[in-house]
């Protein structure tokens, strides 16, 4: 194949295009922060996960330590079954507790891990027992109204029984 003057310019063009793709991947999407590390899976059951979605962050002390892998509904206990993928380099005590938290007032929801005190650490396939559900605004308002009513009457608000 004969060489030509265009070689250099076409090479330059392809280089510019690839640099642009790299720029998009690294600078705007932060490919480097994607962890290619191995992780281990832990399940947990929540009474209510609120607006939690797959791929949401799992944070401990504000640092991302894993992702929510999948969410499904368990029709035996009527709870949400959440599978978490935690990075292998982080180990947590077996009695750690999970909470569904919200970043900011209207931010997205994530799972916070609060480390426990036990010696043994969570291993792949373990189930985390102590979980705290997402705060649901309607329930909060309901509680607030009930407590207000209770204060006003001095007697507990009437509860309808079915």
């Amino acid at each position: 194949m004969q060489r030509s003057r265009n070689d250099v310019w076409v090479g330059l063009f392809v280089m510019v295009g690839l640099v642009a793709i790299l720029f998009l991947a690294l600078k705007s999407a932060n490919l480097l922060s994607l962890s290619f590390q191995s992780d281990y899976r832990v399940t947990a059951k929540f009474d209510n996960i609120g607006g939690l979605k797959p791929k949401a962050a799992v944070k401990s002390a504000g640092v991302v330590v894993g992702r929510v892998e999948s969410i499904s509904f368990d029709d035996k206990s009527f709870q949400a079954k959440v599978t978490l993928a935690l990075e292998s380099r982080y180990a947590f005590p077996k009695d750690s507790s999970l909470k569904v938290l919200t970043s900011g007032l209207l931010g997205e929801q994530y799972i916070g891990i609060e480390a426990g005190a036990e010696e043994k650490t969570l291993a792949a396939g373990d189930n985390v027992g102590s979980t705290q559900s997402a705060v649901v605004l309607e329930n909060l308002i309901g509680q607030f109204l009930f407590s207000k009513a209770a204060e006003g009457n001095g007697t507990p608000a009437p509860v309808k029984k079915k």
Binding site: D7, W9, F13, V16, A20, K27
Partner: protein, 260 residues
């Protein structure tokens, strides 16, 4: 007053079907010739040079200005909700997902597609294509296939350049002119743009647009009537048809990518 005769409708329908069939056959030929045009990569290289390098200037300048405008308009809307830092995310997502591939394809259709059609149409008018056939050189293989491959290679690269330059333009407006914090600009963007589902989909889109625009330009040129008027009609048709099909394909692709 003359009524449209049923026979005319039938004839027009048959003609349209024949055109579609011919186009599909040509597309299949071009795809099956990709391997053999890779063997003569010199031809493809010259086409990338002609289609890609020469389009670089118009693509990067339009990308810069689209980025400027997105930065300004995005800031105008977002500051009403007190989240003007998210302007980086807005600029990046709209460019990478939508505007980058689409505007690049539209510009590419006008800048490169039209010239492809005119070139091949003039070859047809000057009977160069017939002369090649007489010499047992297949014009589809010698003329069309390298141009097709060149356009398909050039298009995603141009779209990536467009998006990257546009993001830099948004940075210039939002950070340097308006004074949004530079760290917030980038970190919001990095938090919200996904490598595969946003950038990957944008690259797929621009790849599909590259195939569509280049193929339509080649088909129109190859099928042009061998007169000056025919070539001018073919060039116009290239720009119209490829712009419309880019917009239509964009909708279809976006729907598909949303549902996955």
């Amino acid at each position: 007053m003359s009524w449209v005769k049923p026979a005319d409708v039938g004839f027009a329908t048959r003609q349209m079907l024949a055109d579609w069939g011919y186009g599909a056959r040509l597309l299949l030929r071009l795809v099956s010739l990709l391997g053999s045009s890779l063997k003569r990569f010199g031809l493809v290289r010259d086409q990338i040079f002609f289609l890609g390098n020469y389009s670089l200037a118009i693509i990067s300048v339009s990308g810069l200005f689209v980025g400027f405008v997105l930065g300004l308009q995005g800031y105008y809307t977002l500051q009403r909700y007190g989240s003007s830092e998210a302007v980086g995310l807005l600029v990046a997502l709209s460019l990478v997902r939508e505007l980058g591939p689409v505007i690049t394809a539209l510009l590419f259709a006008g800048r490169a597609g039209a010239s492809l059609t005119a070139e091949i149409g003039l070859m047809r008018a000057g009977e160069q294509l017939s002369a090649m056939e007489m010499m047992a050189v297949d014009p589809v293989q010698r003329i069309l296939a390298p141009r097709f491959l060149g356009g398909v290679i050039a298009m995603p690269l141009l779209a990536a350049v467009f998006s990257a330059v546009g993001i830099l333009g948004g940075y210039v407006v939002a950070v340097l002119m308006i004074g949004i914090d530079s760290g917030a600009f980038w970190s919001q963007m990095q938090g919200g743009v996904d490598v595969w589902s946003d950038i990957g989909n944008g690259v797929i889109k621009s790849f599909v647009f590259g195939i569509a625009v280049t193929f339509i330009a080649l088909l129109q040129g190859y099928e042009a009537q061998a007169t000056p008027e025919g070539v001018s009609k073919a060039t116009t048709r290239t720009v119209v048809v490829s712009s419309l099909s880019v917009l239509g394909l964009d909708f279809i692709l976006t729907v598909m990518m949303f549902s996955i």
